[in-house]
Symmetry: C2
Subunit: 460 residues, 2 copies
């Protein structure tokens, strides 16, 4: 049922007429997020500028039983902010004020619409560091990062978004505004509501402000790459690095398909005859960094690396890192539809998982480029396909299912950093099991009994 004119006029009263979009081209612009092959037209788009507006809109939605799909920049990769039919798409990108950097307490307070890159820059300007670096960080917003518990390249050493959230302002599904958390590193007064909202994908509340923990900026950094004729040499190098008690800040993997696409796209100068490339970065005290970089190079060579390149300066480090940073863009050029997944396994199972993905590609006659975060077991098998080819898309789905099943069988998870959203919904019950599914549904019902917030996502 389309939104009634009385709901639309009430929305216009709350946020102002210019911030309720109903024109077809606007609805189209908000009918998708960063996930391939998912589109749905909303009923309208509402742009919020203040927490009070968010509260009033949710109160109205609650009274009228209207679905609300919150979003920021819409860079998500699991359809988490895909509109439901006739919903209010509730965009918080205008709430973009960076409110405070507190150098004494190492915290940063910002509205939900501030981009991840702005947070990283503000931290850097104060000599501090905000480690989470999702691939879309230039445009992704902090509210979206928190809702999806975004990851990035630095998970192994520095953790993910969850590890940096100290406090949240959240508007509950009935419009009540809740503040949870504070600037204390330690706080055990009550359940950790903060952690419940982090990663809840917009189904329990709308995040309006975020208080982040920052850390001192590492004094030095060293970048190197190593290429290997065989993938298991790369996997063994990773195991040996961890066994040597080194925790690199970045430990990234590119497979042959990805290397070729990257080289074709960016001409980094990568060798094309290798099966695996590792990008390794270590940061911290200069002496520690020098030692660790040397030791990692040594371990790569001991495992038969064809080539080991240690960046001499920041420019060369950037060039080497660009091979990894540009991987998705490079892959996305070569096929009409690029489906980026994030099957994740315990680090000791990486070689098995990469082999299984290659096998699935062969079995289903598909092109899959695999890259990802080897340090934390978080792989991105990327399907180079065409959503208009129905037969191929069926094979893609079959391959997906086998890959996720295998990830779970190896003690891993169906999503390391992208979220469940719509894309992984079918795979969640088997992964989570009956007891977890029941508890998640009960928690959702407790906070949003009418189910107005982001319906149809995760397990709904």
């Amino acid at each position: 049922m389309p939104l009634s004119s009385s709901i639309l006029s009430e929305l216009r009263r709350i946020v102002g007429p210019g911030d309720v979009l109903t024109e077809k081209e606007d609805l189209i612009a908000y009918s998708f997020d960063g996930t391939a092959a998912l589109r749905q037209m909303p009923g309208c788009v509402v742009l919020a500028a203040t927490t009070a507006q968010v509260s009033s809109v949710l109160r109205l939605a609650q009274e009228t039983g209207t679905a609300v799909v919150p979003r920021g920049s819409g860079t998500g990769l699991s359809g988490g902010s895909l509109p439901s039919p006739d919903c209010i798409v509730f965009c918080l990108a205008k709430m973009d004020k960076l409110l405070e950097v507190d150098r004494a307490n190492l915290t940063l307070l910002a509205e939900a619409g501030v981009t991840t890159a702005e947070v990283a820059e503000a931290a850097g300007a104060a000599g501090l560091f905000y480690p989470p670096d999702p691939g879309s960080m230039k445009s992704s917003t902090l509210g979206g990062n928190v809702a999806e518990n975004s990851g990035g390249l630095r998970g192994l050493k520095y953790g993910v978004t969850r590890n940096y959230v100290l406090g949240l302002e959240v508007v509950l599904p009935d419009g009540e505004v809740l503040w949870t958390g504070n600037k204390c590193v330690k706080d055990v007064a009550g359940y950790s509501l903060r952690d419940l909202f982090i990663g809840s994908e917009g189904t329990l509340g709308v995040i309006t402000k975020v208080l982040l923990k920052l850390i001192p900026k590492p004094a030095a950094k060293r970048t190197l790459i190593a290429t290997f004729a065989r993938m298991d040499q790369a996997a063994q190098t990773v195991s040996d690095i961890i066994a040597a008690r080194i925790i690199p800040c970045t430990l990234e993997f590119l497979d042959r398909t990805t290397i070729r696409c990257v080289e074709d796209f960016a001409r980094v100068g990568l060798p094309l005859d290798c099966e695996a490339l590792l990008l390794m970065e270590t940061d911290g005290h200069p002496a520690a960094v020098e030692e660790e970089a040397a030791r990692m190079a040594e371990l790569a060579r001991a495992n038969g690396a064809a080539q080991v390149l240690v960046a001499r300066d920041e420019a060369e480090a950037d060039r080497l890192a660009s091979a990894r940073r540009g991987a998705f863009s490079a892959l996305a050029r070569v096929a009409p539809t690029t489906i980026l997944e994030d099957a994740t396994v315990p680090r000791s199972q990486l070689a098995n998982m990469v082999r299984f993905i290659a096998g699935a590609a062969a079995k289903y006659r598909l092109r899959i480029g695999t890259f990802g975060h080897f340090g934390d077991g978080n792989l991105h098998p990327t399907f180079l396909t065409n959503e208009l080819d129905a037969d191929e898309m069926r094979r893609v789905e079959q391959a997906f299912k086998e890959i996720f099943d295998e990830a779970v069988r190896l003690g891993g998870t169906i999503t390391g950093e992208h979220g469940v959203g719509v894309s992984k919904k079918a795979f969640l019950p088997q992964f989570a099991g009956g007891a977890q599914m029941r508890v998640m549904r009960e928690l959702r019902r407790a906070l949003d009994p009418k189910g107005i917030l982001n319906p149809g996502k995760m397990f709904d």
Copy 2:
């Protein structure tokens, strides 16, 4: 109403007759935890040995509407495992198997009754490190640590128990067994149930197994102490250390009363004419550690430290650290009742908070020794009192209330690491606010509608 004979015989059938305790001396032994002045006789004590037993006992409790108070060693400091009248005290200390140390994935799996010290030792034996070190770690159990989200001396640099829990086996209030989490560093498949159970103080489920993250053992460590004539010199030193981008693994504070008690008790050789002592430890790469220790000593001197002592070897480091590790025992000797609190504030408010505590002691004619974790703002004002002196206990309560109010006013929390339990229950509503209280109650109702698990705690 006492437990019926049919419930008792069913309990005996489940765990065996020897593991259901009903003798008066046994009930007395389980009538309290580590919290002063709180005692309550239970209906019986049940010792569980397996997850299946835990499940059966909870199913029985659910059917009969019987209150269950889970506990481990009973070292808690907020009355979190204080029995409720006629309840089943459900002790998991017998579930003490350390199941796996996985060196490749840096994880450890253990039953809930394993002690924190055993975890730390097993990690150390594998060249790895489990940082959380609550004061009671020699006897406190992992299940209790997770239920209370225990802290310790290393919170600033390494975080608390929550930061090391990757997975949990939890028995839900109706007896269903739930497993959440895995060995992956990154996992965003569904709500973080793990984080909801961590710190829920036994009110949402009974934790039976814990999967922990370990980290490589730091290669070097350096310990130093500095004494100051004035407390604000110590606070400024802490600010300056953070501003110098040093994150020590330990940054502890002792006030004059505590120093005197420690010296009287342990003869460490501390100067008695100072108002504040800082214990500082840095760990990591040897070069980093040397530099940071030197810089911290320099900053302490620049702030007018009366004395700075850098430990030359591990034996001296242990001696210096013992001044802090022994603080509570030293204070506990000097009065019949020792009430240890953990008001916590943002680091920038430490000096204000310490001054306020001293003022409250003077105003209410009380002896308070204050020590604690200056790095993370977590203070332990310790009341040296006598629970039989009704007038003094009234003054203690008034002082408490003012101290907690002030902590909240300064942007802090009523409990940094001890939990709410019974001790902080009266202070929670004002701290958390109406919206958080409502959500916590709704979550509890969703998981435990009859309220059989640890009733009367936190907000119940």
